[in-house]
Amino acid sequence: MLTTKLRIGIVCPYGWDTPGGVQNHVRDLAEFLIASGHSVSVLAPAIDETKLPDYVVSAGKPISIPYNGAVARVLFGPIAYARVRQWIGSANFDLLHLHEPAIPSISLLACWAAEGPMVGTFHAAAKRQKVIFAIGPILEPAIEKLSARIAVSEAARLTLTDHLETDAIVVPNGIYAKRYSDGTAQGKWSGNTIGFIGRFEEPRKGLQVLVDALPIIARFAPDVKVFVAGPGDPKDFEKEIDPQLRDRFEFLGKISEQEKADFMSSVSIYVAPNTGGESFGIILAEALAGGACVVASDIPAFDSLLGGGTYGALFESENSTDLAKVIIDLLRDEEKRKELAIAGKRRAQLFDWEVVAQQIFSIYEMAMVGSKGVALGSDQRSWNRFLSRDEEKR
């Protein structure tokens, strides 16, 4: 399907060995492109340089800075800049794909250093931030070097138009839909069960909303059980839970991809009660692909992913009473659950890498029109031309 073979350089701003949506996206994209025969090199910060896959080049150890309500592990500074320049200069890329180039990171440095076809993907959706507003004029000359901009969701696109006054093409995040579609229903997770996957210790993942809703749900569905999967220590959470309901919760810890698929096809309802800070909602797309009936908070990202309630039920964000009501209605109505799950599964095919990568690739093609590949640039190029007008002729 993807015919011409390219040399693509992808820059990931966040530490490769820390979990995160952007890292997963970059990994999946790189592996998909390699599987279709392109040669790909990923530049990313890494804590442990010995455990990297062979297509990843380390840019050095990341440092932690607070960003968008979480701690981001990024990297910048003169040494990182030198490494970025070296990476660009040594590889002779046809195209660079920079992820999240608007935050201080190696993506921004690469955007600064390189000349030629560059595509930028913007992941974050955030409210207008004063910091970015202040450094906007500095970012502008760098960001406008990108030949094409991609936003992973409508929310991310709005963030971009708000902060940097440029538009972007919306291409959703990708998932391997097939990996989730062949899960087998497990008896231990079936019945009147509610599933949740995520780093539940982070308040914005909203597990607390579900905990608050459970007393009401338990009144109407006495045998309800909640399965929480994801890394973290459940001790602090268990203290918060009403002692009578504590045995309703089961913490599974981190689960594998195969278990995830089984989990999604087993539970009656998958809940995503996130309170914000979510740009696309990859886990929701995975849940849909796994054939789960999904209930999610009505934050913009989820609202658009679920088509305003067509592919999964929505409840008012942070309102545990509303969540309880929606869940109870669905637990009682098996027909409705099946209907949503089938519609959702069809919806999820739109986010399959086969579709998404094709969209990204056609943007690559557009960005590369009339170019001779990526080179190290100089912002003083007009001097060269002024002094000896040979640059263009050569």
Binding site: S147, A148, S362, M366
Partner: protein, 167 residues
């Protein structure tokens, strides 16, 4: 001594900023040209497909004439009238596609598929081009650029008002 050193520094900074802005503008102009060339090529291709459709059995004689006229208009229009001509072509194509799909043969279906793939590409190309144009216009409005005539003799890029949703 100290002030002259300071002034010299300021002067150097100013010169650096000027060359920086000139490079930036040069890059933007280049981008406008390449993105327009790309978009233009895609649109020409679309006009060619439209003519092919007009000559196929998909179109009845009346709509065939309409489509042929629109396609030639789109091909011949200069850059300022281009967007209107292309919108006209989109409209004519829309007419045929909406009632031609039902009785299309295999080869005609291939033609329509090619058209829809091309339309997706054009949509991306338009967004890339309008973006290049708007950033160029924004930079050219800056005071430094105007006072020092950094744009040289390059013409101000034409905003191509091609609405993507017309396609």
């Amino acid at each position: 001594m100290k002030t002259s050193f300071f002034l010299g520094f300021l002067l150097l900074l100013g010169i650096w900023y000027l060359t920086f802005s000139a490079t930036r503008l040069d890059r933007l102009h280049h981008r406008v040209e390449t993105s327009w060339a790309n978009l233009d090529a895609l649109l020409q291709k679309r006009a060619a497909i439209a003519l092919e459709i007009a000559h196929s059995d998909l179109a009845d004689p009346a709509s065939s004439m309409l489509l042929t006229a629109a396609a030639y208009q789109a091909r011949d229009a200069d850059i300022k009238n281009r967007s209107m001509a292309e919108s006209g072509l989109s409209g004519a194509l829309g007419l045929i596609i909406s009632d031609g799909l039902a009785h299309a043969t295999v080869s005609e279906q291939a033609l329509l598929q090619e058209l829809s793939a091309l339309t997706a590409k054009i949509r991306v190309a338009i967004s890339i081009h309008t973006d290049a144009v708007s950033s160029t216009v924004m930079v050219r409005r800056k005071l430094v650029v105007k006072t020092f005539r950094l744009a040289g003799t390059a013409p101000l890029p034409v905003t191509y008002e091609f609405e993507s949703d017309v396609l």
